[in-house]
């Protein structure tokens, strides 16, 4: 008759998981708020430069994206590794910058009338691109009267 005798098998107390859904939901809401929907499939790789004088893109709905960089790994076998231009979703043939004017026109049409003057072109250009292609793109943008642009960058 000992005081410390075990009373049969000790039962593992059941873990109360009723707050688990709440926990997961809060993580979910966190992610919903801090991230944004991916609007396009990237067909070129780029690493944007770092800068200090950056501004935030105010209204994302007014922005169109022009990506310049090397094609992604699986496309590189077919397209080579020279810098290419991607307009929103489409990779354009070679470095034919002439498409840009049509692209700007189409993007402008898709905006509401009062928003048209505020259209913004967001240039996401890889650090190691040569300026030639960037200047050609800029020249086309000027001709298409898309004058408000933004060089995408990271805060240093």
């Amino acid at each position: 008759m000992s005081k410390f005798q075990k009373k049969g098998k000790a039962e593992m107390p059941e873990l109360n998981t009723s707050s688990l859904p709440d926990l997961i939901f809060s993580i979910l809401f966190f992610f919903m708020i801090v991230t944004s929907m991916r609007e396009m499939e990237l067909k070129v790789e780029f690493k944007v430069p770092k800068g200090t004088e950056l501004e935030k893109l105010e209204r994302k709905s007014l922005a169109s994206y022009i990506n310049i960089g090397r094609p992604t790994k699986d496309l590189r076998a077919r397209l080579g590794s020279a810098s290419r231009i991607q307009l929103n979703d489409k990779l354009i043939a070679g470095t034919e910058v002439g498409y840009i004017r049509e692209f700007v026109q189409a993007e402008r049409e898709s905006l509401a009338e009062r928003d048209k003057p505020f259209m913004k072109m967001c240039l996401k250009v890889d650090k190691d691109t040569q300026m030639g292609i960037v200047t050609d793109v800029k020249m086309e943008l000027r001709k298409a009267m898309a004058l408000s642009i933004m060089y995408s960058a990271e805060q240093r």
């Binding site: 859904p21 997961i24 929907m37 501004e55 691109t129 300026m131 020249m139 408000s148 060089y151 960058a153």
Partner: protein
Amino acid sequence: MGKRKVPGLNASSTADISFILLIFFLVTTSMDTNRGLAVRLPNPPEENQQDPPKIRERNSMVVNVNMNNQIMVTVAKDSRTIEVSELRELAKQFIANPENDPDLPELVPVELPAPFGVQNITKNHVISLQTDRATNYDTYFQVENELYGAYNDLRDELAKKTFGRSYNECNEDEQLACRQYYKCVISEAEPRKYNQ
């Protein structure tokens, strides 16, 4: 009738459901913060363009970036090769010309909005940026960043001096006044090809 006991709802699968939602959001969204250097391009060149207006030598600062990513700055015929880090100070000196140096832009009296009145500012200054087709984009971006940084610094200093707070804390009118005081004029020439 007595109170009927409500059977407890089995909520053990809610966790699974929310997990699936969470994973869906993790996959389809990206955390890209859309920040960047906002630039306004000039109007397109006209077909039959006349010669550009002559700019006096003291009013122009030419920043050249060559194919080896070296930066050369020319102010009043004095050219020298510099590092990116030196560019901001040089540009600030050039834009503000605080000592009325005859080699830096002339100070012209200009009517400005409310708190400033008529001020002597370097109204006619132009910073022109020339790149080569083979220049690295990163270098170009750093140069642009420093040039815009020079303007932002000057505006910030001005705002602190006149309004007692930094440029970002000023209201819209005050910011506009500061912007007109130091008006940003960066022109980008067509890049030259090598051997041209």
